[in-house]
C-alpha cells in the first residue's frame, strides 16, 4: 500500500463509520412501540412540532437515550483500547478485567445505602462511586499483573475479580429492601433505559473532557506500542504515562457503568474491528474511529435490545455478548502466540 492508498483507506473507514452512525441514529429514533414517520420525527426534532405524546417520546425518551448510547458506547470502546495498550494484550477490556464489575459493586452499595435513607444519588456522585470501584478492581488487576506476566492469566484473574464483585453485588441487591430495587436490578445487568437529559449532560461533560486528553495522548501511546523501553528512550515519561492511561480508562469505563451498568465485550470487539478496518494501529486514527465504532456498535445492539422482543427489553450486555464474544474468540484463535 502506498501513502495515497492508505489515506484513501482511512477516509473510507471514517465515511463508513459516519454513515452507519447516521443510519442507526435515524433508525433508533424511529424504532419503538409507537411508530412515527420520518416527516413527523423531523418536525419534532427541528421544528418542535407534533402531538404531545410523540413529542415527549422523542424528546424525553428516545433522544437522550440515543445520545447516551453514542457517548457511552464510544467511551467504552476507547477505554478498552487504552487497556489493551496498557497491558499489551488484545483481549484486555474493562469488562473482562473486572473493572466494570468493581464499579458496579461500589455504585450498587452506595445506591442502596442512600436509597434506604431516602436520598437518590445524582449523576456526578454515581460517576465518582463507579470510579472508586473501577480503581479498586484496577488495583487488584495491577497487583496480579505485577506477579504474572502471562497474558491469559491476567485475563483469567480479571474475570475472577469480576465474578467476586458480581456475587457481592447480587448479594447486596437481594437483601436490599426498596421499591427502586427493580431499577437497580435492571441497571446491574446493563441497560441504556431511563436516561434523562441531566444524565446526558453530565456524561457528555466527563467523556468529552476525557476524550480530548486521550486524543492528545496519541503520540505517547504510539511510542508505547513499541514497548516500554523504546517509549522511554523516545522521551516518554513512563510513570506519568501509565498513570494517565489507567486513570483515563477507568474514568471512561466508570462513566459507562455509572449510567448503564456493566456492558460486556464492546471494549474488546470494537477496537479490534476498527483496527482491522483501518489496517493500522496508529492511535491518532484509531482513537476517534474507536469512539465512532463504539457508538455504532452500541446503537445497533441497543436497537436490538429494545425492539426484538418488545415490549420486553433485553439487557444490553446479552446483546453485546452475542456480537462481541465471537470477535474475542476469533482474536484468541488468531493470536494464540501472543496470549
Amino acid at each position: 500500500m502506498n501513502d495515497r492508498k492508505r489515506t484513501a483507506r482511512y477516509g473510507f473507514a471514517f465515511i463508513i463509520l459516519a454513515v452507519l452512525l447516521v443510519i442507526l441514529f435515524i433508525w433508533n429514533v424511529n424504532a419503538g412501540s409507537i411508530p412515527l414517520s420520518v416527516g413527523e420525527i423531523l418536525n419534532i426534532i427541528f421544528r418542535h412540532q407534533g402531538t404531545d405524546t410523540a413529542y415527549n417520546i422523542i424528546w424525553e425518551i428516545r433522544l437522550p437515550r440515543i445520545l447516551a448510547v453514542i457517548i457511552l458506547g464510544g467511551a467504552l470502546s476507547v477505554s478498552g483500547f487504552l487497556l489493551q495498550t496498557f497491558f499489551n494484550n488484545p483481549i484486555a477490556g474493562p469488562f473482562v478485567l473486572g473493572i466494570s464489575s468493581g464499579a458496579k459493586l461500589v455504585v450498587a452499595m452506595l445506591m442502596i445505602f442512600f436509597l434506604s435513607r431516602g436520598i437518590s444519588m445524582g449523576s456526578a456522585s454515581m460517576i465518582v462511586a463507579a470510579f472508586i470501584g473501577s480503581m479498586i478492581s484496577m488495583g487488584f488487576v495491577l497487583l496480579v499483573a505485577k506477579k504474572v506476566h502471562n497474558m491469559s492469566m491476567l485475563v483469567i484473574s480479571g474475570v475472577m475479580i469480576g465474578y467476586i464483585c458480581s456475587a457481592i453485588t447480587d448479594f447486596v441487591v437481594t437483601f436490599a429492601d426498596d421499591s427502586n430495587i427493580v431499577n437497580l436490578h435492571n441497571w446491574s445487568l446493563g441497560s441504556f433505559s431511563g436516561m434523562s437529559w441531566g444524565n446526558v449532560k453530565v456524561m457528555a461533560a466527563v467523556v468529552i473532557l476525557a476524550m480530548i486528553i486521550v486524543f492528545f495522548m496519541s503520540k505517547p501511546i504510539s511510542a508505547y506500542q513499541l514497548g516500554e523501553v523504546y517509549a522511554q528512550n523516545m522521551g516518554v515519561n513512563i510513570k506519568l504515562f501509565r498513570i494517565g492511561l489507567i486513570l483515563l480508562s477507568s474514568v471512561l469505563s466508570a462513566c459507562v457503568t455509572a449510567f448503564a451498568g456493566p456492558i460486556s465485550f464492546v471494549g474488546i470487539a470494537v477496537p479490534h474491528i476498527v483496527k482491522s478496518l483501518l489496517k493500522t494501529a496508529k492511535p491518532l486514527l484509531v482513537i476517534p474511529a474507536c469512539f465512532m465504532g463504539g457508538a455504532v456498535f452500541c446503537l445497533f445492539c441497543d436497537l436490538i435490545a429494545r425492539t426484538v422482543f418488545a415490549p420486553t427489553e433485553l439487557s444490553i450486555s446479552s446483546v453485546t455478548a452475542v456480537f462481541g464474544a465471537p470477535v474475542v474468540i476469533y482474536i484468541m484463535i488468531h493470536r494464540q502466540k501472543r496470549i
Binding site: M1, N2, P90, F216, S218, K219, S222, A223, Q225, L226, G227, V229, Y230, Q232, N233, M234, G235, V236, N237, K275, K279, T280, A281, K282, L284, K337, R338
Partner: protein, 370 residues
C-alpha cells in the same frame, strides 16, 4: 591516567550496576571518545545487558555516575537524552498492524509536535535512514512478517532516524546469519566513520568484536575484568580464561575458535606447510584421529591450526632452514605413527628436509593418499 575524563564524549565514573539495589558489577569506568565503538564481551549471564540497561537509564544505577558530553545523564530529561541516545534492543516485540516505515518513523518522536504528525522533512529522514540500512523496499511490509535480519535492520534504521550521537545495541547480531551479521556491522562501522557516531554494544561473536571494536570491555565476575583495545584483550589465554573454555581453544590472530584435539598418541603424521595442511588437520580432527604435524615454520598458516589440533607439532623458527635436530625429531615421531599424509607439494630451500621426510615415508610404505 593523563587524559582526564573531561575530554571524553561518554564516560562512567565508578558506576555500580545491579538489580533491586543488589550490586552485580562494581566500579565500572568506561571512557569513550566520539566516533568510537565499544563492545562488551563476556559469558552469558555475566551482566552485559545489565550494564547497557543502566547506561540507557532503563535500570536505576546503584552508585557512580554516567556522563554524556560531560553532563550527568541522571540530571538530563528523557527528551534531552532521546535526542542524543538511541537504543536497539533484543527483546522481541510484535507490534500489531505496523509497517516497517511506521516503526522507523517512531524514531522521529523527539522531533515531532504534540500529535506526532510527521512533516515532509521527517518523512525524508525516515526514508534516508531506511536507505542507509538498505531497507527502503520493506517500507510497506508488516513489521511482524519480515525476517530477523530485516527486523534488526529496521530497528537500526529507527535508531538512526532518531539522529542520536550515540547508539546502544544489545546483542544486535543474535539470531542473524553470517551475511546479515556482517551487513549490520558494516552499516554501523560506516556510520561511525562518516558521521562520528559513537556505539556501545554487546556482542557474542568474538571474531567480529575483535575486528569492529575500538575498545573492548570484558564483563566477568563482580568487576570489569579487562578494558582495553582489541589487541590487548584478544589473546588466546585470556579468552580461554574469560569464557572458561576447557574444550578447544581460541586463536587470537584469526579470531576463531578451534575444537579440542583428538586425545591419544599420534597415529598419523602429516607433512604440511603453506596452507596445504589445514584441510587435512581438520578432517583428522573430525574423524577423531590423533595426529602429529611437521615440520612447520611458526609463521606458516598451517602452524596456527596445527598447534590447536595436533597432538604434537614439530616447529621451526621463521625463515630458518629446518634444523637437523627438528628433522630427527620428526622422523622419530613418524616412525611411531601408522600412516603418513603429505598434502605438501612445494618444497623450497627452507623446508627441503620435508622432502626427505616424504622420501622416508615412501620407503617405509607408510605414505597414504591424502
Amino acid at each position: 591516567m593523563e587524559n582526564t575524563n573531561k575530554s571524553y564524549f561518554f564516560h562512567t565514573d565508578q558506576l555500580t550496576v545491579g538489580y533491586e539495589g543488589k550490586p552485580l558489577i562494581r566500579e565500572i569506568n568506561i571512557q569513550l571518545n566520539k566516533g568510537e565503538i565499544l563492545t562488551l564481551i563476556g559469558p552469558n549471564g555475566a551482566g552485559k545487558s545489565t550494564i547497557l540497561k543502566s547506561i540507557t537509564r532503563q535500570l536505576a544505577t546503584i552508585s557512580g555516575t554516567v556522563y554524556l558530553e560531560q553532563q550527568q545523564m541522571a540530571s538530563m530529561s528523557n527528551k534531552e537524552v532521546s535526542k542524543k541516545l538511541a537504543v536497539v534492543l533484543t527483546e522481541r516485540m510484535r507490534p500489531e498492524l505496523m509497517t516497517c516505515e511506521d516503526i522507523v518513523a517512531t524514531g522521529r518522536y523527539p522531533y515531532t509536535g504534540t500529535l506526532g504528525i510527521l512533516s515532509a522533512s521527517d518523512k525524508e529522514k525516515v526514508r534516508a535512514a531506511m536507505e542507509t540500512v538498505h531497507a527502503w523496499d520493506l517500507k510497506d511490509r508488516d513489521f511482524t512478517a519480515i525476517s530477523d535480519g530485516q527486523r534488526q535492520r529496521i530497528l537500526l534504521a529507527r535508531a538512526i532516524c532518531q539522529e542520536p550521537e550515540i547508539i546502544v545495541l544489545d546483542e544486535p547480531t543474535s539470531f542473524l546469519d553470517i551475511r546479515h551479521k556482517l551487513e549490520l556491522l558494516t552499516i554501523l562501522k560506516k556510520m561511525v566513520l562518516e558521521n562520528q557516531l559513537t556505539v556501545i554494544m554487546s556482542l557474542h561473536e568474538l571474531d567480529l568484536a575483535q575486528k569492529i571494536s575500538d575498545k573492548v570491555i570484558c564483563v566477568h565476575g563482580e568487576y570489569i575484568e579487562k578494558y582495553g583495545t582489541p589487541e590487548e584483550i584478544f589473546t588466546s589465554q585470556y579468552i580461554r580464561k574469560l569464557y572458561g573454555i576447557t574444550k578447544g581453544s581460541y586463536n587470537a590472530s584469526f579470531g576463531c575458535v578451534e575444537m579440542e584435539p583428538p586425545a591419544g598418541s599420534p597415529r598419523v603424521f602429516v607433512i604440511g606447510g603453506n596452507g596445504s595442511g589445514i584441510p587435512v588437520y581438520r578432517r583428522l580432527q573430525r574423524l577423531g584421529i590423533p595426529f602429529a604435524a611437521g615440520v612447520l615454520h611458526t609463521n606458516d598458516a598451517d602452524y596456527q591450526v596445527a598447534s590447536a589440533l595436533a597432538g604434537t607439532v614439530v616447529a621451526e623458527k621463521p625463515f630458518e632452514i629446518i634444523s637437523d635436530e627438528n628433522f630427527e625429531k620428526a622422523l622419530q615421531i613418524m616412525e611411531e605413527c601408522e600412516a603418513v599424509l603429505c598434502p605438501l607439494t612445494d618444497f623450497g630451500t627452507m623446508n627441503e628436509k620435508n622432502k626427505k621426510l616424504l622420501a622416508k615415508a615412501k620407503e617405509t610404505g607408510k605414505l597414504r593418499e591424502s
